[in-house]
C-alpha cells in the first residue's frame, strides 16, 4: 500500500509538502490568473500605444483600489462558503455616513474615518447574526442587507450627494500620494497603497490567526468544527463583521476619490467583487482561496475595462465582453479541477 511506505515525518516529506504547496491547485490557479493578467496586458499594449502610458497605468491602479478592497471583503465570506451581496451598497452607506460625520457633524477627520469603518462593522455584524443565529442562507440575508443599506444611504443623504468641502484633507486619503512624496517619480495614489496594505494585513489574518483558520474550516466542514466544541456562530459573525469593516474602508476610498458621497452609487459593485474573487481561484463552495488570487482577479477586471475603453469598444459591448470573460475564467477553472 502507498501509505505504509511513507515514513512518519521526515525532511523528504517536508520537501514533498512544500512542492505540493507551490504546485498545488490553489497555486496553479493563481498562476493561471496571473498569466491571464499578463496576457491581457500584453494584448492591450500591442493593440494600443496609449495603454502602457504611465498615466493610464496609474488610472488602472486607482480604479482597482475600490473594487480590490471590496473583493478582499468578499474573499473572507466566500471562503466560509457564504456569499455577501451587500458589500456594494454597504460601501455607499459607509461613504454617506462619513459625510454625515465629517460634513454635517463636523467631527475630526480620524474620528469620522473610524466611525465610518465602525458603521460597516455594525452592518456586517448584523448580516453575520442573520446568517449564524437566524440560520438565513447567506444569499438571502445579504440580499436583504443590500437593500437595507441602499435604502438607508438614500434616506440619510436625502437623495443627493454630500460634499466634503469643509474637510480638505479628506480627499488626500485616496488622491494624495505618500509614495510620490518619497519617490516623486512613482506617484502611486494612496488608495492603491491602502489596497496593498489591506491585502497584506488580510492575508496575514487568513494564514496566521485563529480567525483565518476558522474561516477556511467553516467553508471546509462547518459541522465538524461545531462538533469540535468551537463556537461557530461567534466566528461566523466576526468574519461578516470584518468584511463589513473592510467595506467601510472602501466607502472612504470612493468618497475621498469623488470628494463626495454619492448615495445612488454602489449596486453592481458586489458582483464585480465576486467576479474578482472567483477569477482569483477562490471556490464558491468554500474552503479554499487566497488573497493574492483575489487581488490578481481584481486587476484582471480593471485591466479589461480599461483596455476595452482605450480600444474604443462601445460601453455596451464592454459589459458583454466582461461577462464572457468571467464565464470563461470560471469554466477553465472547473475544467482544470476536473482533471486533478
Amino acid at each position: 500500500m502507498e501509505q505504509s511506505k511513507t515514513t512518519t515525518i521526515g525532511s523528504e516529506g517536508r520537501v514533498a509538502a512544500f512542492r505540493a504547496q507551490v504546485f498545488g491547485s490553489i497555486a496553479r490557479q493563481k498562476l493561471f490568473a496571473f498569466a491571464s493578467l499578463i496576457l491581457l496586458m500584453v494584448f492591450f499594449s500591442f493593440a494600443s500605444p496609449a495603454f502602457m502610458q504611465v498615466q493610464n497605468l496609474l488610472g488602472i491602479l486607482q480604479s482597482t483600489a475600490v473594487n480590490g478592497v471590496l473583493a478582499i471583503a468578499s474573499t473572507f465570506v466566500i471562503i466560509t462558503a457564504g456569499i455577501d451581496l451587500s458589500v456594494g451598497t454597504l460601501m455607499t452607506f459607509c461613504a454617506v455616513m462619513a459625510g454625515v460625520f465629517l460634513t454635517y457633524w463636523q467631527l475630526p477627520l480620524w474620528t469620522g474615518v473610524l466611525a465610518a469603518i465602525a458603521t460597516g462593522a455594525v452592518s456586517g455584524m448584523l448580516s453575520g447574526t442573520l446568517v449564524a443565529k437566524l440560520k438565513l442562507p447567506p444569499f438571502i440575508a445579504t440580499l436583504g442587507m443590500m437593500l437595507v443599506n441602499k435604502g438607508l444611504a438614500l434616506v440619510v443623504a436625502g437623495d443627493k450627494p454630500i460634499y466634503f468641502n469643509d474637510t480638505e484633507s479628506f480627499s488626500t486619503i485616496s488622491q494624495g500620494s505618500v509614495i510620490g512624496y518619497i519617490l516623486p517619480s512613482v506617484p502611486v495614489p494612496n488608495s492603491v497603497l491602502i489596497l496593498f496594505l489591506l491585502a497584506i494585513a488580510a492575508s496575514i489574518i487568513l494564514s496566521r490567526t485563529a480567525l483565518g483558520r476558522y474561516t477556511f474550516a467553516l467553508g471546509s466542514n462547518e459541522e465538524a468544527v461545531r462538533l469540535s466544541g468551537v463556537n461557530v456562530d461567534r466566528w461566523k459573525i466576526t468574519i461578516y463583521m470584518l468584511a463589513g469593516a473592510i467595506c467601510g474602508v472602501a466607502g472612504l476610498l470612493i468618497a475621498s476619490r469623488l470628494n463626495s458621497a454619492q448615495p445612488a452609487l454602489g449596486q453592481g459593485y458586489e458582483l464585480e467583487a465576486i467576479a474578482a474573487v472567483v477569477i482569483g481561484g477562490t471556490s464558491l463552495s468554500g474552503g479554499t482561496g487566497t488573497l493574492l488570487g483575489t487581488i490578481i482577479g481584481a486587476f484582471v477586471m480593471s485591466v479589461l475595462t480599461n483596455g476595452l475603453r482605450i480600444l474604443s469598444v462601445a460601453q455596451e459591448w464592454q459589459i458583454v465582453v466582461t461577462g464572457v470573460i468571467i464565464i470563461l475564467a470560471v469554466y477553465i477553472d472547473i475544467l482544470r479541477r476536473r482533471r486533478l
Partner: protein, 515 residues
C-alpha cells in the same frame, strides 16, 4: 412487462449472473479481492458478511455504480461492463439502496417513471393518464394496493420501499439487488415485503438479498454467500446450514485471536452518569454509568439509538429530559462547546462529515478544537507551538502522513481516524465516545485502533465504544450495554457476553414483546 412464461423460458440451468475473480480497491483499502458470486433466475441469494466485508461494494459494481479494477462479470452468459447505473438498469439489473432514493414531493407514478415519462401528442406535455396507467399496471403486477397519484412523502417507509421495487421492475428487471431492505420495517411490513419478494421469485426474477438479520435469511433465501474482509469465503444452500455455521464463517478467525483485555477490573471512579435521558424516538429513558479506565461497549442493530444517545450527551442534539453527571457534578450541556469544556469528546461514525475538515491539512485538524491554546496576544497563532504539538501526536499515534501539511482527504481511513483521536487528546478530553471507530478501516489499521483504545483506557480515560460488529464489541468491551429501539435492553459483563446473548437483547422489540 415481460410475461411470466418468457421469464420461465430463460430459466435454464446457466446462471443469470456469474462473477469471477472480481477485485476493487479504494485509496487505502482493498475492498474486494478475487471475489466469486453466482445468481440463478428465480433464486433468492443472501449475501452476508460483517461491516466492511465488501457486500455493498460487490453490489454497487454489479449495479454499475462503481467500476471494477479486474475480474469478469457475465450476465446471461455474456461478459458485461456497465458504465453507469443507468446502463445496468437498462439491461435489467435494479438495485434498491438502503437509503431510499425517492423524490418525496412527487407522486408514486412520477417516481417510478422519472426521466422516462410518457409524452403527449406534441411531445412536450406529459401524458399523466398514461403515466398513471402504466404505474397502476406495475403495482397490480406486484399485487400492491397503492394509488399512483399519491405523494411519496406521505407514505410509510415500507410503502416507499415498494415504490422503489416497482421502479426497478419498470425496467423489466431480471435481477433485483436489495441492501438491508428490512432495516426500517416493522414485523407486519416485513411480512408484506417478503410476500412480494416471493412473488417476484416465482416469476423468475433473481434476487440478491443483503442482510444482517440471520432469522430473515432462513425464512426467505435459497442460498447464502459469505464474504469476509473483501474475500470470498463460501456459498452454501441455506436449508442445510445452521445459523451458527454462517456466523462463524462471517466472523472467521477474528473471533479466535481475541486479544483479551482486562485483568479484572480495578474500576476507577465514575466519570459519567446518565439518568433518565430522553431525546426523540431513539433515546428513551436511558440510564448508565461510565467509569475511568473502562471501555463500555454499546451494542445493537442499526437504528437502535446508540448514536443518538451519544449525540444527546454531547449536546449535538437537544435532550428533552434527563440528568448528566460528569465527575460527580451535575452538568448542563446545551451545545458541543459545553460538552468539550467538560472534557467529553465524540468521534462520529461519519468522520468525513462530522469529524474532519478533509480539505484542510493534518495540522489544522489536530488542533481544530484547541486553537485558542496556541494564540499570542489572543489573536495570532503560535506556529512553532502548534507544529510541536502536532508532530508529537503524529509520533504518539503513529499517524502515517508524508507531512503535517498534507490534506487529510488524501490519507487512509485508519489515519483519518487517528487524527480525530489526536484532536480530542489535544483537548485533554478524558470521556471519549467512539462511534463505530473502525468503520471503513482495513484490517491492519483496525488492530491498531483497537490497541489505541485499550491503551487510552489503561491511561484512565473513560471510553464508550459504539459498534455494530459483535466481534469488536466482544473483543474490546469491559462491559456491554445493548440497545433496541431507543431503550437499553440489557447490560452484560464481559465474561457473560456471547454473540447470541447480545443478539437476543438487540432484537428485544417492544412491539414484539407486547404481541
Amino acid at each position: 412487462m415481460q410475461s411470466a412464461s418468457e421469464f420461465q423460458a430463460g430459466l435454464a440451468m446457466s446462471p443469470l449472473i456469474s462473477v469471477q475473480d472480481l477485485s476493487k480497491s479504494f485509496p487505502g483499502v482493498r475492498a474486494l479481492s478475487r471475489v466469486r458470486f453466482e445468481l440463478m433466475a428465480g433464486e433468492i441469494h443472501a449475501l452476508v458478511g460483517e461491516n466492511g466485508a465488501g457486500k455493498s461494494t460487490l453490489m454497487k459494481i454489479l449495479a454499475g455504480v462503481y467500476r471494477r479494477d479486474s475480474g469478469e462479470i457475465f450476465y446471461n452468459g455474456e461478459p458485461v461492463n456497465f458504465a453507469s447505473p443507468r446502463a445496468a438498469q437498462m439491461m435489467g439489473i435494479g438495485i434498491i439502496h438502503q437509503e431510499l432514493q425517492l423524490m418525496n414531493h412527487l407522486t408514486v407514478a412520477h417516481n417510478i417513471f422519472i426521466g422516462r415519462e410518457p409524452r403527449g401528442r406534441l411531445g412536450v406535455f406529459l401524458d399523466e393518464d398514461k403515466l398513471n396507467r402504466q404505474a397502476r399496471d406495475i403495482l397490480a403486477y406486484m399485487h400492491l394496493n397503492l394509488d399512483p397519484r399519491a405523494n411519496v412523502g406521505g407514505l410509510t417507509v415500507a410503502k416507499q420501499q415498494m415504490v422503489e421495487i416497482a421502479k426497478a421492475l419498470s425496467f423489466n428487471s431480471r435481477v433485483l439487488i436489495m441492501d438491508e431492505p428490512t432495516a426500517a420495517l416493522n414485523n407486519a411490513e416485513i411480512v408484506e415485503l417478503f410476500n412480494i419478494i416471493r412473488e417476484l421469485k416465482a416469476r423468475g426474477v433473481g434476487i440478491v438479498y443483503i442482510s444482517h438479520k440471520m432469522d430473515e435469511l432462513k425464512q426467505i433465501s435459497d442460498r447464502v454467500t459469505v464474504l469476509r474482509d473483501g474475500e470470498y469465503v463460501t456459498t452454501m444452500p441455506i436449508g442445510t446450514t445452521s445459523m451458527d455455521t454462517i456466523i462463524s464463517m462471517m466472523v472467521g478467525r477474528t473471533l479466535m485471536d481475541v486479544a483479551r483485555p482486562p485483568e479484572q477490573a480495578s474500576r476507577g471512579d465514575v466519570a459519567l452518569e446518565v439518568r433518565n435521558l430522553n431525546c426523540g424516538p431513539l433515546v428513551k429513558n436511558v440510564n448508565f454509568t461510565l467509569r475511568r479506565g473502562e471501555i463500555l461497549g454499546f451494542a445493537g442493530l442499526m437504528g437502535a439509538g446508540r448514536t443518538e444517545v451519544a449525540r444527546a450527551i454531547f449536546g449535538a442534539d437537544k435532550a428533552e429530559s434527563g440528568e448528566i453527571i460528569v465527575r460527580s457534578v451535575k452538568a448542563s450541556i446545551k451545545s458541543p462547546a459545553d460538552a468539550v469544556a467538560l472534557g467529553i469528546g465524540y468521534l462520529s461514525e461519519d468522520r468525513k462529515r462530522f469529524g474532519l475538515a478533509v480539505g484542510m491539512d493534518v495540522e489544522f485538524n489536530i488542533v481544530m478544537a484547541t486553537l485558542a491554546k496556541h494564540l499570542a496576544f489572543n489573536f495570532v497563532l503560535r506556529r512553532r507551538g502548534i507544529r510541536a504539538t502536532v508532530e508529537s501526536f503524529i509520533r504518539l499515534l503513529n499517524i502515517r502522513t508524508p507531512s503535517a501539511t498534507q490534506e487529510v482527504r488524501l490519507l487512509s481511513g485508519g489515519n483519518q481516524q487517528k487524527i480525530v483521536v489526536a484532536k480530542w487528546l489535544a483537548r485533554d478530553c478524558d470521556i471519549l465516545f467512539f462511534d463505530e471507530p473502525t468503520r471503513g478501516i482495513d484490517v491492519g489499521a483496525k488492530a491498531e485502533i483497537h490497541k489505541l483504545l485499550r491503551s487510552l483506557a489503561d491511561q484512565g480515560k473513560a471510553i464508550v465504544m459504539i459498534s455494530s460488529e459483535l466481534p469488536e464489541i466482544l473483543r474490546m468491551s469491559d462491559r456491554i450495554i445493548v440497545m433496541c429501539e431507543g431503550r437499553i435492553t440489557g447490560e452484560l459483563a464481559w465474561k457473560d457476553a456471547t454473540q447470541e446473548g447480545i443478539m437476543l437483547l438487540a432484537t428485544q422489540r417492544e412491539t414484539a414483546k407486547a404481541a
